[in-house]
């Protein structure tokens, strides 16, 4: 039935448009999205200009290209999806922009360049590029560069293939700007950006007997400043900080971050909801943010015993876990994000809701990303989910939540209060005009 599944996917036009990853570049000028159809769309922020006050730094489409195509693994008789799992930008080192995009098996390095001039006045070629009849050339001229309409060119510079047996879930560029890592369910590999035929395996948790497999890698990231440190999370809710200086194979962690289980909350679903779906270092490098099914947690690198902060994303789902297990929603992998100053954290939820938590004021807000509730330049209205008891007018009851509208992917501009929210196949970009500066 694998064959009909593939065909069915192609005949449903919207399925390929489902956004699967969102990522700002290091300046926030560019925003890249990847989708289920293997395409990457890059948005660029328009510079604020006094002439057009309405386009106050809005994002327009800059470039679109097909990054990955579906493939077929003939050895295993399995289809390899073209869905883009992650995009990571490289720090900009010259006029060109570069990014890494990955599907389940293959990572590609793309170079994005601009062309806004072209040479005119060749001696041997005419305007269309055809060779001139030499007898008509009576004098020589120096070709000059003339401006032309901006053209954005994208080219694949490297293809990092055959490094992974299992599905790649994360990529992370090292602060040394020379290496990056890719993680699948059981292994993490270290690559050099210039070398495609070789990678180093730095973590391998595959047991000798697959029957003994009880834990997989769910996410991983390099430390933003220390090029030797990286963290990876597991399906059992633990984080392991590893130091590449300690050994070539970092199976032994330097630090293990794990919160003891709360015996009063124990159920058959405890392990599933403790599985970490995303881990992000803070910009400062001092903290880590993790997302599991019901909470986001902030960890201090200096304290392994427990997180320093825990925020409930949608605790009203705790009594519905059985149904969410039945319909597979309990396996949804939500991402999380820091703002530029590490004072606010954000994550998505169901019903196109997303949540923000202010770490200083301890206030939180629930907002909705939908066409109905947000006209351009309108202020988002906070939403509330009521769990029985008093119900205010605009509250949504838990039973009315739409579990097919999930916000799994969110991103925060590195410096300003601009967020990008992927709601199925729609991208929403919200800007905080009043408080553009970070606190």
């Amino acid at each position: 039935m694998a064959i009909s599944r593939g065909l069915a996917r192609r005949t449903v036009p919207e399925a390929a448009d489902i956004i699967s990853t969102v990522e700002f570049n290091h300046t926030g000028e560019l925003l890249a999205t990847g989708d289920k159809g293997g395409r990457v769309v890059i948005f660029q922020r328009e510079p604020e200009s006094k002439n057009a006050p309405h386009s106050q730094g809005e994002y327009d489409v800059y470039s679109t290209f097909q990054s990955h195509e579906p493939e077929f693994d003939y050895l295993k008789s399995l289809e390899i999806e073209e869905k883009i799992n992650k995009i990571k930008w490289l720090p900009q080192q010259n006029a060109a922009h570069s990014l890494l995009s990955t599907n389940d098996k293959t990572i590609k390095l793309w170079k994005i360049t601009e062309r806004d001039k072209r040479p005119e006045g060749y001696n041997l070629k005419d305007e269309e590029g055809k060779l001139k009849d030499l007898s008509t050339v009576t004098s020589l001229q120096v070709p000059v560069l003339k401006p032309m309409d901006l053209m954005v060119e994208v080219s694949p510079r490297r293809v990092f293939a055959n490094g992974h047996t299992y599905h790649i879930n994360s990529i992370s560029v090292n602060s040394d700007c020379e290496t990056y890592m890719s993680a699948d369910d059981l292994r993490i590999n270290l690559w050099h950006l210039a070398i495609t035929d070789r990678s180093f395996n730095i973590v391998d948790i595959k047991p000798a007997n697959m029957e003994d497999l009880t834990e997989v890698i769910t996410a991983s990231e390099f430390h933003p400043h220390h090029c030797n440190l990286f963290v990876y999370s597991s399906s059992k809710g633990s984080l392991r900080l590893c130091d590449m200086r300690a050994a070539a194979l970092c199976d032994k962690h330097s630090k293990l971050f794990e919160e003891p289980e709360d015996p009063s909350n124990r159920s058959f679903f405890s392990e599933i909801i403790s599985s970490v779906s995303d881990v992000k270092f803070s910009h400062s490098g001092r903290y880590m943010l993790t997302r599991d099914y019901l909470t986001v947690k902030v960890w201090d690198l200096n304290m392994e015993a427990r997180p320093i902060e825990t925020y409930q994303v949608h605790d009203y789902l705790r009594s519905k876990l059985c149904s969410l297990y039945e319909n597979d929603c309990i396996f949804d992998k939500f991402e999380c994000a820091w703002n530029g100053s590490d004072s606010v954290i954000m994550t998505g939820a169901y019903n196109n809701f997303f949540r923000m938590f202010d770490r200083n004021t301890k206030r939180d807000v629930t907002l909705e990303a939908s066409r109905e509730s947000s006209k351009p330049r309108a202020v988002l209205k906070p939403r509330r989910v009521c769990v029985g008891g008093k119900r205010r007018r605009d509250d949504i009851s838990v039973d009315s939540l739409d579990f097919t509208k999930k916000i799994l992917h969110t991103a925060w501009h590195p410096a300003e209060n601009i967020i990008a929210i992927a709601a199925t196949n729609n991208l929403y970009i919200f800007q905080d005009k009043v408080n553009s500066e970070m606190h």
């Binding site: 369910d185 029957e211 997989v216 679903f269 149904s323 097919t404």
Partner: protein, 227 residues
């Protein structure tokens, strides 16, 4: 999204599976819900076999859940042979609890990613028969169960064409029915030939239907293998 009314209320008033602590005396609803959870998990694991490339994280989490239930049932002493007399009664009880669990799933909006049809009415009568996934045969049952779990991971590990048939050779024929139905659902769009089986009114198909579905499934496997 979730069922309102009496039945749901009574399932919430009763000890629900979420709040269960290991080792509690088996109030009937807890035991039944735990059994339903086990059945559901095993179906999910089988569905994993049928997917193009199984999501390893999901499979591992489900398998761990199954192990937890198995451990608890072993401690409780409920992991045992189903006595023939009780066989007639047990499926009916299980009918009720499974229905309660499934109801919330079915009434959810959105894309039909709820892989569970209403399995109880059609499935239950066959359940007491020999099945590596069921409760029959204490040591055999458990051994068969463990073997099946191991088999899952080995298959995930090296999904060679031959192993797909191996999987089917172990599983009780009652699951072929479910498989044929579920593979129709894998594409997301309910266009599969097995859709009629979803209707609650579908009578328990006799073994002849089972065999024809089995033939269909084998044909499908052949296609997969030869691709």
């Amino acid at each position: 999204m979730f069922a309102r009314g009496l039945k749901r209320k009574s399932s919430e008033d009763a000890e629900d599976a979420d709040g269960g602590v290991a080792g509690l005396p088996a109030a009937p609803s807890y035991t039944l819900q735990r059994q339903s959870l086990l059945d559901m998990s095993l179906v999910k694991l089988q569905l994993c076999h049928m997917l193009v490339e199984p999501n390893l994280c999901r499979s591992v989490l489900i398998a761990n859940t199954v192990r937890q239930i198995q451990e608890e049932m072993t401690q409780d002493g409920t992991w045992r042979v189903v006595a023939p007399q009780a066989a007639g009664r047990a499926p009916l009880d299980r009918l009720v609890s499974t229905e309660i669990l499934c109801r919330s799933g079915r009434e959810q909006e959105g894309e039909g990613d709820c892989p569970l049809p209403d399995p109880a009415p059609g499935q239950a009568p066959r359940r007491p028969q020999s099945s590596p996934w069921g409760l029959d045969g204490s040591r055999e049952g458990r051994g068969g169960f463990q073997k099946s779990l191991d088999h899952i991971f080995e298959t995930l590990e090296n999904k060679t064409p031959g192993s797909v048939e191996e999987l089917f050779s172990d599983v009780d024929s009652s699951y072929y029915d479910l498989d044929a139905v579920l593979t129709g659902m894998v594409g997301g769009a309910p266009t599969g030939p097995g859709l009629p089986a979803f209707a609650p009114t579908a009578a328990a198909p006799p073994s002849s239907t089972c065999r024809s579905d089995l033939g269909e499934l084998e044909h499908t496997v052949e296609i997969l293998v030869e691709t």
